[in-house]
Symmetry: none
Subunit: 216 residues, 4 copies
């Protein structure tokens, strides 16, 4: 027997509240989205962190943003080896099937995945170095990024720099996907690198010319 | 030079609107979440589809839901092989670091990933069978699920059944993770299997006793 | 020879500024909208008044709002008499070809067209009563609305009430179009009646139950 | 009971965002515009199409452009027959009450109204020929324009030529309004004929001497 359980009453109640209000107010639009399919303008790659709500920040409508969320908003490099690659599958679907016009990689402050990576690279987290640590092996992707910032002594500063390295690593890896590069080169796809301070609400964007992040 | 571009003005404007209203209204809470860290009650595994907004359906507060989104809300089986597993990393982090009390797998109607899987299994989508098809290799996980529903002749019915198989596959694979099974057995973690009809707003939950989905 | 003239340099300069910035930042999206066609969610019927910018108020993206603007945001009744009806053509195109999910009628304060109607109905504007007054004949549509508010003595109050009557007249006339009524009855189309105070930025919405406008 | 419904929450949220930022930043100017009335320099006649944002293209301020939008940016000829003429009312108000200095007719590529006219004139759209087709009867205005371009065999080229004919038809019809002609002759009013390619952002203006459009 599968060990599933009914939803707690408080969530059931919220769902019914949503259905009677938000859903009812948008029913005509949802029906049309269901019938005609989605046509999102933007793919967002952001973190699973419960404190980052990209739909809220950008006032997104249903149907507007195709959203992949993983630990530390990381994109792995292109590896067509026949194995499972969930992030790569999401990118492939967004770019080649949905043909989104923008990909937004959204990093954020106080990122637990980045903090774990930092501790691991400092040699302070042996458990993360075990072969069976999924978080450790996932965050290995950010080791080169850590090397770029390791000389920063202050923990908070180094981690913020590493959070931004995570975003840039994803941008760089995105460009290793042939279909991403082709769409960018053809002017059909634009990439945005962003970092959100969850404490003070600031949003910073990467400037290609200066290669730095600055406040939007 | 990295090929990033500034955000379009309309999104910048919406962000500033959010910061002046939603963010300002919640600043004290966000500051505390930043200082004390997140403590989400629920992990949600849902699809990237732009028409599924789990935070909206459940009226989620910032800090409440830890959300992983991938194509077709699939969880792969436990494979501690030292390779990168983004979904497994998210589950490990949620269960062992954040110690969430619930995992909600949320499938939905009109799922493009499930439709792709159906076509592939029917032999109608050779491109998805290529080794370098990330979507195809990702959806291979659902081949056993397809076999369970393949006798349903009506396309729409079979796909809805397959969408629910995707949810159950994820539940079954979740239970192959030792730390998930241990937490479930200890009563520290509860699993929910859900399916949302994006057209009429219906939410169905899996009932362990009958092994069927029914309307909530 | 047609009496057209080149654009003044200041507008040419602004256009080139837009092309180098806003257009460039959105070029991928505009190309896609051009190739795939528009799929707006909302039709907006608002006034020509230079002080009402509906795209700004609602942070609308290119491709999101189909906008008809005329004097006093008026919809005439359904009259399939084979003559030219510009507003009716816009509504027909939006509802039957584009199949928008919402129609928003947006009235506003200090409306010159409504003020003209008020003066005409008070007998203070004989020029507007002439057969060849296009504004007068257009505003005749609002005469029944004026009768409903004529007992309000204060000019400013009566005009505000008349501005809201203009919105409700449009809603009532919209429902005389068979394809509008059918779409509303089928749940495929939703109507919104709104009034914007251009001085203090307030937005009021019509409440079907109380039949009154209240602040949003 | 009137069938109006509340605005969806996402639009309400965007409105509040606008009010707290754009509106707040311009409140003094809006208050003055409210108190003193509008004094727009330009009347714009453009299409309802959701992909054409004239305020964005020309960086228009609140109070600067008086904007009429209809299907295919068409101006009918002067017909003071005592019937309702929405476009004529807007022109009359702009020229005789507001005394704008410029009228800009802005056509655009991929125009659905022009495409409908083209199909109708080719005999491929019988539904548009029915007496009760508002779009058909509205586009009848462009039949003479279609005759001028009918020998162009390539569909895309013929439609672009027809889009420009729509602009010129409007210019020619504008000149049949006595108050427009008088203002033009007196040097108080200037007419501009423009066409915007929504895909590549190009803007073309009509040159009176060569009677052709060329890139601005």
């Amino acid at each position: 027997m599968r060990p599933t359980r009914p939803l707690p009453g408080s969530l059931v109640q919220r769902y019914h509240g949503w259905k009677a209000t938000t859903f009812a107010d948008n029913a005509a639009w949802y029906r049309r989205l269901g019938a005609e399919g989605q046509r999102p303008r933007v793919m967002v790659i952001s973190c699973c962190d419960s404190r980052v709500h990209v739909t809220s920040i950008f006032g997104a409508e249903q149907g507007e943003f195709f959203i992949h969320r993983n630990i530390a908003n990381l994109v792995p490099p292109y590896e067509p080896d026949g194995l499972r690659h969930g992030t790569s599958a999401a990118i492939e679907y967004a770019v080649t099937s949905l043909r989104v016009s923008q990909i937004m990689v959204l990093g954020h402050s106080q990122c637990g995945g980045v903090e774990a990576c930092d501790k691991m690279c400092m040699g302070h987290a042996p458990a993360l170095e075990a072969q069976d640590s999924f978080v450790g092996r996932w965050m290995d992707m950010l080791r080169p990024g850590w090397e770029a910032v390791q000389t920063i002594e202050d923990d908070a500063e180094r981690r913020e720099a590493l959070e931004k390295q995570a975003v840039l690593t994803s941008i760089d890896n995105l460009m290793t996907f042939p279909f991403v590069r082709a769409a960018v080169d053809a002017g059909d796809l634009v990439l945005h690198a962003l970092w959100n301070d969850i404490v003070d609400g600031t949003l910073e964007g990467h400037d290609a010319v200066t290669d730095r992040f600055s406040q939007i």
